[in-house]
Amino acid sequence: MKRKRISEALEHLDPAYIDEAAGFTAVRLYQKPLFRLVSVAACLIVCATAVLLSTVFDKQTPPVDTPPVTTTVTGNLTSADTTTTVVTTTATTTTTTATSITTEPSATVTTSTKKGIVVKGTKTTRTMTTTVTSAVTSAVTSTVTSTVENTTITSTTARKGDDLPIPPRGTTTDKDGGTTKSTSTRPTRPNGSFGETEFRPDVRLQLDKSVYTPDEAITVTIENTSEDTLYLYSLIFWATQTENGEWSNGWGATPLSFTTSVLEPGETCTATKRLSLSPDKTYALALCVGDTWIRSDTFRVMPSSTTTAAEAITTTTNAD
């Protein structure tokens, strides 16, 4: 019965509505293209507004979160020093002034170079606390903490008692940097005779031959087979061995300059000298290296009818 009444009610529907429905042409229910167009336009308007607001906001507000300041500091800084760093941000230009500097030495590095030049360096880590004042609004400040790591190598004066290698006897040390200079100052002779002298076992004076003629030059080679730096003295000594194997008390000496005065471990240097030794005798050479002495193997000088003394030979007699 209810269905019939509904059906009858629908029969009395307004003809205008019936005609409207009959003439209705196909259409999208949600008008999607227009809806999308309106949506895109609304999004663009919102984005543009956001960009404009952010631009205005940036111009009016100083940068609170300022990027960390990286400063390269050279030289020795103390807590009393100040450093000015210019920090550029996208918003404005600010001036950063280091108001306090904390210096914390973290390690001490000692190194040495060849030729006897010794330098000492200090590796220092500094923590620099800076206060940033905005150039736009001075009332707003922010604190920036940056860590500056710097390695400074400075030369120091070599002084007695420092951890520098002890220079060889008979040499002088200049006042700046511990530079060793070879001198012609006569060294102290070895104590006692050749046989009583203590020689280094790890380094030897090497000769190019074992038998020489009286006028023949001798080439002496030193290879630093030790782990020490050798400071070569510029006088070479020799001693004579008798036929029964004993060494004479006297020492002969002559200046002999090697190609270098400082011999690092593994390095080699040579020197050639005509010593004008006495014929028909057996000799050995000795050289002062720092606090110690090194020697050569024995060598023989052949007999000769003539005796030459072209080179200046200083013959000394053992004081003992």
Binding site: R3, A9, E11, H12, L13, P15, A22
Partner: protein, 185 residues
């Protein structure tokens, strides 16, 4: 041919009037009948009976708009035939549409409170006046022309689900409106 020209042919008792009417609204009338009856042969007979009805009623009537006038005749004839066939089976689109509407019409507690079909029609017409054009067309196409969900989806370029959901919301609004107005069937 325009409606007034067709009506003039009817007034002139021209046999061409039926041909022009069929050319203009034949498909629409056949659809209305088919949706209600669910049978092509019955629908064809119904439409032919409607043409005869129009021939007999014009003159003296001079309908404007002609389209809704013809469709109403077709629909009335189709519903008469539908009621005659109801005892046998209920499987047309119109049955489904009536089932949907039946639930949204509030029932009366007593016979005295029942509204007549004419009073209910006035309430429905008033309700349709509150709807948007799309929703109104959707309602009329579904419950007067008995269009199927597929046909409405094609008409509105929307999915079946969208059409179903929108019709459901319209029915809910109709139910609220009828309760508010105190219309019971």
């Amino acid at each position: 041919m325009k409606d007034d020209q067709i009506v003039r042919l009817f007034f002139e008792r021209s046999e061409q009037a039926i041909a022009e009417l069929s050319r203009a609204y034949g498909a629409l009338c056949k659809n209305v009948a088919l949706h209600i009856l669910g049978n092509a042969q019955d629908a064809e007979e119904c439409v032919n009976d409607a043409y005869l009805g129009v021939w007999n009623s014009i003159p003296p009537h001079s309908p404007n708009p002609l389209r809704s006038y013809v469709c109403r005749i077709v629909r009335n004839l189709a519903i008469k035939k539908y009621h005659a066939n109801t005892a046998l089976k209920r499987n047309s689109v119109y049955d489904v549409a009536l089932d949907e509407l039946e639930n949204c019409f509030p029932s009366s507690a007593s016979v005295e409170d029942e509204f007549s079909a004419a009073e209910a029609a006035r309430a429905i017409n008033a309700f349709l006046g509150t709807l948007s054009r799309e929703n109104r067309v959707l309602f009329v196409r579904r419950y007067w022309y008995a269009d199927s969900i597929d046909e409405l989806a094609a008409l509105f370029h929307a999915s079946n689900h969208t059409i179903t959901v929108r019709l459901s919301r319209i029915r809910a609004k109709l139910n609220d409106y009828l309760v508010q107005e105190g219309v019971f069937l």
